[in-house]
């Protein structure tokens, strides 16, 4: 039986600032990822890898081309469905963690469940377990300014995976961390991805990291996949 791909990108084009001076960022990108695959998008700044990630995350719409994630055609979604897609199909982690400073670790992890409409008791418990599983049982009531960089990213991982997404999108997840912490974070990610069979798309410009963390490397240059 042929498994349907987790992600399928066909001839994807993204042009910013139409009109007189259009800036083409993606110029016809195509690839397909199988469920559970771990892909590193490797390329220099400006190669279009972050734009591709945003399109995959449903934060932006392509100029042309097609993206299917877990069987959903993204360009066919209305804003409402797009929000639902971000909520349950994908999880995202960022280089700058993007935790909300005024909320504790637990409350940050609770956020996606709030928008999913889950009851308070249940989401509190789920968030606590998620934090435990990333090794932060002792930090649940701490606010981001009381956590280290590695701990920030652990909270972000817990938050990204708490709604059990089929795809995890990571934008330079270890870019702000020292090498040993980065190792820990990658190991942690790997455990979680394996446990749930989550597909990973990770943007990085670190060749070494890409080979260690990914099962497949997609190289990008000037808005095109080059290998």
């Amino acid at each position: 039986m042929v498994q349907s791909p987790a992600i399928e990108v066909v001839d994807l084009v993204k042009v910013y600032g139409g009109g007189v001076h259009p800036v083409p960022v993606l110029r016809g990108v195509s690839f397909a990822l199988q469920p559970g695959e771990r892909v590193a998008l490797l390329g220099k700044s400006g190669s279009g890898k972050s734009t591709l990630l945003n399109l995959l995350g449903g934060l932006d719409r392509p100029t042309s081309g097609k993206i299917s994630v877990a069987g959903q055609e993204l360009s066919a979604l209305d804003p409402h469905q797009q929000a639902a897609y971000r909520l349950s199909t994908v999880g995202m982690i960022f280089q700058s963690y993007n935790l909300i400073g005024s909320r504790t670790a637990l409350e940050n992890v609770e956020l996606p469940m709030i928008f999913a409409g889950r009851p308070a008791g249940e989401r509190r418990e789920t968030a606590r377990l998620a934090l435990e599983s990333v090794g932060l049982a002792h930090r649940i009531e701490h606010r981001p300014n009381q956590l280290s960089g590695g701990e920030h990213q652990r909270v972000a991982i817990a938050r990204a995976l708490v709604n059990r997404p089929t795809v995890l999108l990571a934008d330079e997840p270890t870019g702000n961390l020292d090498s040993s912490t980065a190792q820990e974070i990658l190991a942690l990610l790997s455990v979680h991805l394996e446990r749930h069979g989550t597909t990973l798309v990770m943007v990085t410009h670190d060749e070494d990291l890409a080979t260690r963390a990914a099962t497949r490397i997609v190289r990008m240059q000037d808005g095109l996949v080059v290998g």
């Binding site: 934060l59 409402h80 971000r86 993007n98 709030i114 928008f115 409409g117 308070a120």
Partner: protein, 521 residues
């Protein structure tokens, strides 16, 4: 997403900016406070006015007087036809001017307040009672005592009327034998030797009241000329005398030539004008003292009834029938009727229609209800004006909220971007900001309402300290009224305004682009 979670989001945002939230809430509070105070005192004063007059039954009373007026149809054609050749338009204007002057110069008594007229009034729908007011001067003598006659003012009053009732210190009008009962002033008794506090001793004593009425004088020289010289009555002679006496004094001021003036002065010098012997009509009757009133003092209840003020000075208070029967014995009263009368209507609601009927009868009708309508209308206008000011205050507060929330959206751009990336819908983000608006409105509205309620206590004392010296009557209850619609409506209006203020910032928040907002830092 549940509403409770949205509200928790909004609350947490407000908590993070405590000072800012407090200041915006204070703005709404001040606006609501002004709104509530303005509406509350408007209602309160209106209520106070109504209850003040309703207690005294004054709102059901109409005072009627004879109306002096010349109807258009009674103006003779000759008097209003201009002479000469002129355009039609000018003729019309001059006709109007001549007619107006004729009416002003010769007013006609439309319907004298004679007993017949009063009967007609009594027969009108919704009229409960008609009471002519009578007051006259006379002399009073205490029978069986060696005390001098005293000059007194006799005023009629309905038995039990609040106009004198509160000043009774002994007795009152008994139900029986009202015709012969009078209430006297303590000062009159004092003059007759009742010096102690036991004025009740005077009850049952008899007094004799004498009165003199000046005969009436026909006002027009024309009337005299119509009669032949041989048929001049006493009244005619009196009229001529009265007219000529006045004319004599006016000679120096008349618009006549010097020679005419000299002749007129000479004519009047030789004219001896002595009053006819029988110039007065005298009456006397005996009455029994059945009650005593005390002196009217400042601060005494002063019911706003027509004619009530006359009773403050009366030495003798007489039931209306007795006073009227004396008064109607005079020729003047038989022809011209009473000076005025008070009509009591069965219900406040009918006052206007009865007043209209009275005017149709040719009477002049004035009622407190009509005056109060005007006062209430003025009060309403003032309330509308102050409410407008309060709404402006709330609007200013709302603009402050819009401004503050736009700042807040800018500051929270990243947070908004994060929750959007996590799956928050645009509608949910809008809802969070709208709820912030609602919460600010609710809190400010409730605080403003509470503050207004607290301020109403000293406010009531201050308002009464200003008003009561003018009304001479204690104002019942509070000047500030908080009806249910105000208690519920004020915070609701505050909420509505602050929610509207949050609409723009909320839309702006929902339009935050997550990519842009997450890129910075």
């Amino acid at each position: 997403m549940r509403f409770r979670d949205l509200a928790a989001f909004a609350l947490s945002a407000l908590r993070q900016q405590k000072v800012r939230t407090m200041l915006t809430v204070i703005g709404v509070m001040v606006g609501t406070f002004t709104l509530v105070m303005s509406l509350s005192i408007g209602r309160g004063v209106d209520h106070a006015i109504l209850s003040l007059f309703r207690d005294a039954d004054a709102l059901r009373k109409i005072e009627v007087r004879t109306r002096f007026e010349t109807r258009e149809e009674d103006v003779p054609a000759a008097a209003k036809t201009p002479t000469g050749v002129m355009s039609d338009a000018k003729r019309k204007r001059l006709e109007a001017a001549l007619s107006k002057r004729f009416k002003g110069a010769s007013p006609t008594e439309l319907a004298p307040l004679t007993p017949e007229t009063l009967l007609k009034v009594q027969g009108l729908n919704h009229v409960q009672a008609v009471q002519p007011s009578v007051s006259f001067n006379g002399k009073a003598e205490l029978l069986g005592a060696d005390t001098p006659e005293e000059s007194v003012e006799v005023v009629s009053a309905t038995p039990g009327s609040p106009d004198y009732r509160d000043r009774l210190i002994a007795g009152g009008f008994g139900e029986a034998n009202q015709y012969n009962s009078v209430i006297v002033h303590e000062y009159l008794l004092y003059r007759w030797g009742f010096e102690g506090d036991d004025v009740g001793a005077a009850i049952g004593r008899k007094i004799r009241i004498k009165s003199e009425f000046r005969r009436s004088a026909a006002p027009s020289l024309l009337a005299i000329l119509k009669h032949s010289e041989a048929h001049l009555s006493d009244d005619d002679l009196e009229s001529i005398r009265s007219f000529l006496t006045r004319l004599k004094g006016m000679v120096p001021f008349l618009p006549i030539s010097v020679s005419e003036r000299t002749a007129a002065t000479k004519l009047f010098q030789n004219l001896r004008l002595s009053p006819p012997k029988d110039n007065f009509e005298n009456f006397e009757d005996e009455f029994t003292i059945s009650g005593v009133v005390r002196q009217f003092m400042d601060g005494d209840p002063n019911p706003p009834n027509p004619n009530a003020w006359r009773l403050h000075h009366a030495e003798v208070i007489m039931p209306p029938q007795a006073a009227a029967s004396i008064y109607l014995r005079t020729t003047w009263a038989r022809d011209h009727g009473f000076e005025n009368a008070v009509v009591t209507v069965d219900d406040e609601a009918h006052v206007k229609s009865v007043a209209k009927e009275l005017e149709k009868l040719g009477l002049y009708a004035s009622s407190l209800a009509q005056i109060i309508d005007t006062v209430r209308m003025n009060l309403l206008l003032i309330t509308i004006a102050t409410t407008f000011v309060a709404v402006v205050a709330l609007t200013v507060a709302a603009l402050g909220i819009t401004n503050t929330m736009i700042m807040s959206v800018l500051e929270r751009t990243r947070e908004i971007g994060i929750i959007k990336a996590l799956g928050a819908r645009n509608g949910q983000i809008q809802a969070i900001f709208l709820i912030e608006g609602v919460l600010i409105g609710l809190l400010g509205g409730l605080l403003g309402l509470a503050l207004a309620y607290l301020a109403s206590f000293p406010g009531d004392r201050i308002a009464k300290a200003i008003m009561e010296p003018q009304t001479h009557t204690p104002i019942p209850g509070s000047i500030f009224i908080f009806p249910a619609w105000l208690v519920l409506g004020a915070p609701l209006i505050a909420c509505l305004i602050t929610t509207l203020a949050a609409v723009y910032p909320a839309r702006r928040a929902s339009r935050v682009d997550p990519i842009t907002s997450l890129r910075h830092e």
